[in-house]
Amino acid sequence: MSAVTIRDLTLGYDRHPAVHHLDGRIEAGAMLAVVGPNGAGKSTLLKGLAGAISPLSGAVEMTRSDRHAIAYLPQAAEIDRSFPITVFELVAMGMWRRTGLFGGLSRADRQGIEQALAAVGLTGFEGRTIGTLSGGQLQRMLFARLLVQDARLILLDEPFTAIDAKTCADLLDLVRRWNAEKRTVVAVLHDMETVRQAFPQSLLLARRAIAWGPTDEVLTPENLLAARRMTEAFDDHAGICAEAA
């Protein structure tokens, strides 16, 4: 099952570290919240886990089959909302791993897509083009695609931003259900209430890990204060990190 080992991982841009010397392990079936101030490297960490960027040093270790069973919902999905495609077709793209380039959708696949749309409350939206959806509906649709992807490791980058309370609660229920199905969930979140309620494990990140463990031990006032002290700007004249050698 999907355990992820992070070994001395440094991720960044133009040699500047955004995540610095991170070590840790995400157990299979864990439900991990990644929290921290702006610029702490939360999104970068998720990109690294998803394999969208390669490490400056260190490694993300997981089995090959797990690497192919990742579903990743980026913070700002690069969706062209003016593109003429229906909700059903877009959600069906989640079947990619099974259908590949040419494979057709079986009757069971179609039912799966209908069920996913029902689970996020978008029944009846199948034939709508994506440009007609509201922001919250779009997010629900992306969750439906995640459902269809049937992944073992699910990475969510601020999935509940700009979403109303009802939608947020609905989607959070989905996340909980994934976890009950033994899927691993890693989510970047800002709302500490949500984290305390739903996520047993937390990683408090401020480029380096401030704390990683059970949520109530991580989200202490001292740790949060330490995270806030991180300086955001990169130093263009910073020397080479001694640990990097």
Binding site: A50, F83, P84, T86, E89, L90, M93, T99, L101
Partner: protein, 288 residues
Amino acid sequence: MYDALIGPFVEFEFMRRALVGAIALSLGGAPVGVFLMLRRMSLMGDAMAHAILPGAAAGYLLFGLALVPMTVGGIAAGFAVALTAGLVARFTMLKEDASLAAFYLISLALGVIIVSMRGSNVDLFRVLFGSVLALDDPTLILLAAISTVTLVALALLWRPLVLDSVDPGFLRSVSRSGAPSHLVFLGLVVLNLVAGFHALGTLLAVGLMMLPAIAARFWGRDVTTLAAIAVGFGIASGYAGLVLSYNMETPSGPSIVLMAGVIYLVSLVFGPRGGLLPTYWPARHREA
């Protein structure tokens, strides 16, 4: 009525050939145009059409008005410009549109000079505006072959092309087929422009590719429908243009493109999806 609309095609073989050529061009080119438009590359088609000129012209300089050398030269020049522009964009500070503009202007100037080095103004006119009324068997077979290859390739690449246009980040997360399918797609663009070049000439080669596709945007709601409508519009403008050209004695290539333009203008005003009238004079709204 019969004499104007059907008679010419019954009576004259060159009219039938021209119609078949226009149908072949529309079948392959219009769906390619739909993807160019949806990927915001509409102007890139025009630039590429100019870029194939020096290759075709070099073929002409060496072998005269012969199909094979001009086709091979055109395809080679098209790929060369597309690749160089892509490389310049990747390795310098220029964006792709800027470097493409630079290369296609050079190509156009070079092409016209090469043609005029050997040929007469008649030849130059033919290279710039095509010869849809003089399509011989090999040219028709070439056009049909290009549209066949295009339709097969689009069928195979449909999914990555759509996904790469609508949500490239997601495609990258599930598959590596984005970059290769984009390259194959650029190849299809060049092939169809070379086909358009033989029938409509350098300046109007993109006419049957872009205008029907852009007009279709006002009518269809998903990509498949758009492609089908665009093909229909292309064939309709081919037919209408030839009829116009026969009856009014206007040049046939520009007539075809002009008819595609008329379809576009009508769509712009009346098209149900974002056309001017439906947008600014909406029908009475529903209750929910």
